[in-house]
């Protein structure tokens, strides 16, 4: 067993590059998903039924599709419509679009329980549309939804492991190729598990610092 971990250690460069790719992939798509959420959430809350309805269909649709299937569709299915994306682009797109639906729903949930008066004060003081959302509505949303958003980021990290099926060289892919080359499944996978855990700890630390910022304002 010790020997198995020795084998994994000798392949550390591969694992670390997998870890780096997972970190990059998750970070980029978490940011992009949140930004997309900033657009989808006001659409969900829109007073125009067509806008709200379209956003609702997108959000509910995404939440009912298994991520693995969605990634298959983007990578293998889109080329039938002439959209051919490489594995990085389709992986990023799939993770981002899929999680944007969750981010939007998280922000909507935080929005409906916000007190009405401060938002109304924003309107009375001349804020409207984008300015109102960006300066008055969104900041308290982010503070109150911070922990749930952090939770979703952890979900993104874990979902990114599925992208090994489209040969994206992320952490699971690296661990899997080490095990198949050297037949050390336990050592390779358990090492990957600990590396994922490390990534999640970073997110947890971020969440708790948002929590402190929010606490001062509560």
């Amino acid at each position: 067993m010790i020997h198995d971990f020795g084998v994994v250690w000798s392949e550390r460069a591969l694992l670390l590059s997998g870890l780096a790719n997972t970190a990059i992939l998750s970070t980029l798509s978490a940011i992009a998903a949140l930004l997309l959420g900033f657009i989808v959430t006001p659409a969900l809350m829109s007073k125009q039924p067509a806008v709200a309805g379209a956003a609702r269909v997108f959000v509910d649709g995404m939440r009912c599709v298994p991520f693995l299937l969605f990634a298959y569709i983007v990578y293998y299915g889109f080329p039938s419509f002439g959209v051919r994306l490489d594995n990085w682009t389709s992986g990023l797109a799939a993770l981002t679009i899929y999680n944007a639906a969750y981010m939007a729903e998280i922000l909507r949930g935080a929005w409906v329980v916000q007190p009405r008066e401060p938002i109304e004060a924003g309107v009375a003081f001349g804020f409207s549309e984008i300015g109102l959302f960006r300066r008055i509505i969104l900041p308290p949303l982010l503070l109150s939804a911070g922990p749930v958003i952090g939770n979703q980021m952890i979900q993104i990290i874990k979902d990114s492991a599925f992208l090994t099926i489209i040969a994206l060289p992320e952490l699971t892919h690296a661990a899997s190729s080490i095990q198949s080359r050297h037949y050390v499944p336990f050592a390779a996978f358990i090492t990957a598990v600990f590396l994922y855990w490390g990534l999640c700890l970073v997110i947890e630390a971020g969440v708790s610092s948002i929590g402190r910022v929010a606490e001062a304002r509560r």
Partner: protein, 261 residues
């Protein structure tokens, strides 16, 4: 121009929510430097009236003019777009019953937010003015505190300073002391009394009869969405014309005698 001194002109404003007529044909004017107190039983439409003035509620009928400029409707009798509406709203300050401070911003940031972001005034100038306003309401030392750390009275004083930071033509108060513990009401009324003395133009919806009697230049008595009586506070409080106003005042006098506000 006859309208020169008239800051606010509310003409025939009506508003209904479903089957309920909340305001019917309400008209009144506010001259520069006046303190008009709007009194009346709860449910009489006082808050809705204030909210119609800056179009937080859209009136069903009637006109509102701010310094001769129509609020909510532009020249071609079309409902104003967000941009025009927001421009005219910056000239109407509002103080809310539940303070409505922005929780993610410090006290100083609350004061600076709209002048900088909406009015696009230079930050340094706004900051100096905001600091002066904070010292005026006695909260200089709280400038970096978040609203959640303030008492109700302090929050409302910040709310007043925040409205003043916009340099509004008129200040609307929507029951500014109703959400406060009785012992905190005084500190807010002191600030409002000072503003009245300085000649700030104000429309105040309130249940503080003592304040209205002493600080108002004029009283507007609303009942079931109509202006029932209007006049000087002295005459209203000592010699109300209508039966309804007398009943209303009697009930308040009774409450005060029983130790209730």
């Amino acid at each position: 121009m006859a309208q020169f001194n008239k800051v606010l002109d509310v003409a025939g404003v009506s508003k209904r929510f479903g089957d309920v007529e909340v305001l019917s044909d309400v008209s009144f004017q506010v001259d520069k430097g006046e303190t008009v107190c709007v009194l009346g039983p709860s449910g009489s439409g006082k808050s809705t009236l204030l909210r119609c003035i800056n179009w937080l509620e859209r009136p069903d009928a009637g006109q509102i003019y701010l310094n001769g400029e129509r609020v909510g409707i532009n020249g071609a009798s079309i409902v104003m777009g967000d941009r025009d509406l927001s421009k005219i709203r910056t000239r109407i300050g509002m103080v809310f019953q539940h303070f409505a401070l922005w929780p993610h911003l410090t006290v100083l940031q609350n004061l600076m937010e709209a002048p900088v972001q909406v009015q696009r005034r230079p930050k340094a100038e706004v900051r100096d003015e905001a600091l002066a306003l904070l010292s005026k309401v006695g909260l200089s030392e709280k400038r970096d505190a978040f609203p959640a750390r303030l008492s109700g009275g302090q929050k409302q004083r910040v709310g007043i300073a925040r409205a003043l930071a916009m340099r509004p033509d008129v200040l609307l108060f929507d029951e500014p002391t109703s959400a406060l513990d009785p012992e905190l009401v005084g500190e807010v009324l002191v600030v409002m009394r000072d503003l009245a003395r300085e000649g700030m133009t104000m429309v105040i919806v309130t249940h503080e009869m003592g304040f209205a009697r002493e600080a108002a230049t004029r009283v507007l008595f609303l009942d079931r969405g109509r202006v029932v009586e209007t006049g000087s506070p002295d005459r209203f409080f000592s010699n109300a014309e209508t039966e309804r106003a007398r009943q209303f005042l009697q009930r308040y006098a009774g409450d005060t005698a029983n130790g209730r506000r």
